[in-house]
């Protein structure tokens, strides 16, 4: 039994111009010692998809179908209060853009201890001590417990976010573009921290990014999203070595390799489709170099092609 099982999830935004099918029937699962990467261009629905795991879908958006089963319980029908108790305690999240994700007028110690006090019956002093040890855990040092967010650098703020997210020992951590906007050295340090936490706390993580190298460094498995759908899924190493879906190929081909031969980088022509009126057949069809007649008419299903590899493409038999 997987820790998290998302089945045929559909999230639509009901806007004035029409229904935006931001997430249109995706399924994935995360087991107890797995790190899953979710990759795709901006606007492909990856953030919407994981926000729904915390039930953070706000109007005009709505979860219109599917199930999100966490620890054997579908969270979509849960009451607001049940959902609140799960947030921070069962499922925690680190957001992109730590610059503004911390309250500017509250000390980081208070921001960390706040979440512990909410979910555990301990005294303020104990929570404060826990906040200090959380700061140590993320490599900041407990003496900074009384500092305010503006006294920290961007990387340190993101570490504080990790300290907050892991404060209650959640069973699942979601990281939404945690290193976007940080310089590469800080990115590296943060990824190293994530990896060490994962091992120390045996913490399953869903990692969202548009950066392939970030996934390569952290994730066991990866799912590639395009226009609200998962187009390919598999373990990171084999998917990177041998991408099957034309979109994955394009994505991986557009990245330079440091050690390999020098090739010209390929880009994918065109732009992702508008999700109000997506193409009828394969959503990648208008940009696909291998497009066939059938791609225009029939939407390919996500098929298992062996080795835990799933692809949604008519080319793959």
């Amino acid at each position: 039994m997987a820790l998290l099982e998302v089945r045929n999830l559909k999230i639509y935004y009901f806007t004035r111009e029409g229904v935006v099918k931001a997430v249109d029937g995706i399924s994935f699962s995360v087991s107890e010692d797995e790190t899953l990467g979710l990759i795709g261009e901006s606007g492909c629905g990856k953030t919407t998809a994981v926000f729904s795991i915390l039930r953070f879908v706000v109007p005009p958006g709505r979860i219109v179908g599917g199930e999100i089963i966490f620890e054997g319980r579908d969270i979509i029908p849960l009451s607001d209060e049940e959902m609140r108790l799960l947030r921070g305690e069962g499922i925690a999240m680190v957001f992109q853009g730590a610059q503004n994700a911390l309250n500017p007028v509250m000390t980081v110690g208070k921001q960390i201890s706040e979440v512990i006090l909410e979910h555990e019956s301990i005294t303020k002093e104990e929570a404060w001590e826990r906040a200090k040890s959380q700061l140590e855990l993320v490599g900041i040092g407990s003496e900074r417990v009384n500092s305010y967010p503006h006294e920290f650098s961007g990387g340190m703020k993101q570490r504080v976010m990790v300290a907050i997210a892991t404060a209650c020992n959640p069973r699942l951590l979601i990281m939404d573009e945690p290193v976007t906007g940080l310089d590469v050295i800080v990115q590296r340090q943060l990824l190293a921290l994530t990896n060490s936490l994962r091992e120390k706390m045996r913490l399953p993580i869903i990692f969202i990014t548009h950066d392939l190298s970030v996934i390569a460094e952290t994730c066991d498995n990866v799912a590639v999203m395009y226009a609200g759908k998962i187009v390919e899924k598999g373990d990171t190493v084999s998917l990177y070595k041998d991408p099957l879906h034309p979109y994955s190929k394009g994505l991986i081909g557009s990245y330079p390799s440091v050690r390999g031969e020098k090739k010209e980088l390929k880009s994918i022509p065109g732009a992702p489709p508008r999700l109000i009126n997506p193409p009828v057949g394969c959503r990648f069809y208008p940009r696909c170099p291998y497009a066939m007649d059938i791609c225009e008419i029939e939407e390919p299903e996500l098929k298992n092609v062996g080795d835990n590899r799933l692809v949604a493409c008519h080319l793959i038999k």
């Binding site: 915390l54 953070f56 609140r84 108790l85 799960l86 947030r87 921070g88 305690e89 925690a92 999240m93 957001f95 853009g97 503004n100 994700a101 911390l102 309250n103 500017p104 007028v105 509250m106 706040e114 979440v115 909410e118 979910h119 305010y148 503006h150 006294e151 976010m161 907050i164 997210a165």
Partner: protein, 329 residues
């Protein structure tokens, strides 16, 4: 920067306030030399007063001297706490003002406290419930109250509650020749103060509702609110500790600036309700071209506003942790 921390911040702010006050003192002198009209003509309307007698008075008030000399004289006397003699009441301008200060403070402080508390609470609720019926009701009422000028609101209130319904008095601060003492007297004052205070509360409170609401809406859209939600905090905790705490920062800032507008409001309200405070004094002094009193009230108002802004700045440095360090970096 040589000065560090809160002390340095405070010293810089106080220094800036002193410079501002000096600039106001200079402007105050210049303005009254620029206004058209001769105060002596107002003092002596009697055509029998001869030109020699006028000249004598002019010399006595030092108005025959060159401007530069007058200015130095003005500064010297100011330093000694002498703001001139009221043309109208023939006694020191400062005494004239001092008689009026307590009444104004009583009215404005009471009304402002009520307005700020009510306005902030209602504004926070409206911002929190943005887009709902509660929000529309609060917003509509606040906007209507804020857009009606204080004197107009005063007349409307007076017409309804004092004239038609006769629940409250038409004006003044206490019932004349009533002989009330102690508690009875204060009850009488409160009864007289109700309408003018309500007028200030409506006008000022409406503004605070609008201000707090927009600051609240802004704060609620910030990323740290999503972080707070992701922590699984209760809605009340998110509202209080995260949204309101941040929304109050701009509200505090505006309070200092707004005091300047409160001066205008107090002149209108006191005049409409014949409340014997500084606002009413300004009105009378303008009518009688009592320059020394006007000059002195302007100075008192200006210093009060500068002081209020100084206090706001110091409070701000205390409630927003980013400010103190901001001065050093």
């Amino acid at each position: 920067m040589a000065l560090k921390g809160f002390a340095g911040f405070a010293i810089r702010k106080v220094g800036a306030a002193c410079i501002t006050v000096f600039a106001i003192v200079c402007a105050n002198f210049v303005i009254f030399r620029l206004v058209p009209g001769d105060p002596l003509r107002m003092m002596f309307k009697d055509p029998r007063v001869s030109a020699e007698q006028m000249q004598l008075v002019r010399e006595r008030f030092g108005l025959d001297k060159p401007l530069g000399e007058q200015f130095l004289h003005y500064l010297r006397e100011l330093a000694h706490g002498n703001l001139g003699i009221s043309f109208w009441q023939k006694r020191p301008a400062l005494d004239v003002i001092a008689d009026r200060v307590p009444q104004t403070l009583l009215l404005i402080v009471t009304a402002l406290i009520i307005a700020v508390i009510l306005g902030t609470i209602l504004g926070a609720i409206a911002g929190w419930k943005m887009g709902t019926r509660t929000d529309s009701v609060i917003l509509t009422i606040a906007l209507s109250l804020y857009s009606i000028p204080a004197f107009c609101m005063g007349i409307i209130l007076m017409l309804i509650f004092a004239f038609q319904l006769s629940i409250f008095p038409l004006g003044g601060i206490s019932t004349a020749a009533s002989g009330f003492t102690g508690f009875e007297y204060w009850k009488d004052v409160a009864w007289h103060m109700f309408l003018p205070a309500l007028c200030v509360v409506f006008w000022y409170g409406g503004e605070y509702v609008l201000l707090t609401r927009s600051a609240m809406v802004d704060a609620l859209g910030q990323d740290y609110i999503i972080t707070a939600r992701a922590k699984g905090l209760k809605e009340s905790a998110i509202l209080k500790n995260h949204a309101l705490r941040n929304a109050l920062l701009p509200v505090v800032t505006i309070t200092g600036v707004n005091l300047a507008f409160a001066v205008a409001g107090i002149i209108e309200v006191e005049t409409v309700f014949s409340w014997p405070g500084i606002g009413r004094l300004v009105y009378d002094a303008v009518m009688k071209r009592d320059y020394p009193v006007l000059q002195a009230t302007f100075l008192v108002f200006a210093v009060a506003i500068v002081l209020a802004n100084l206090v706001v700045d110091l409070i701000y440095g205390y409630i927003d942790p980013r400010i103190k360090v901001g001065g050093e970096e």
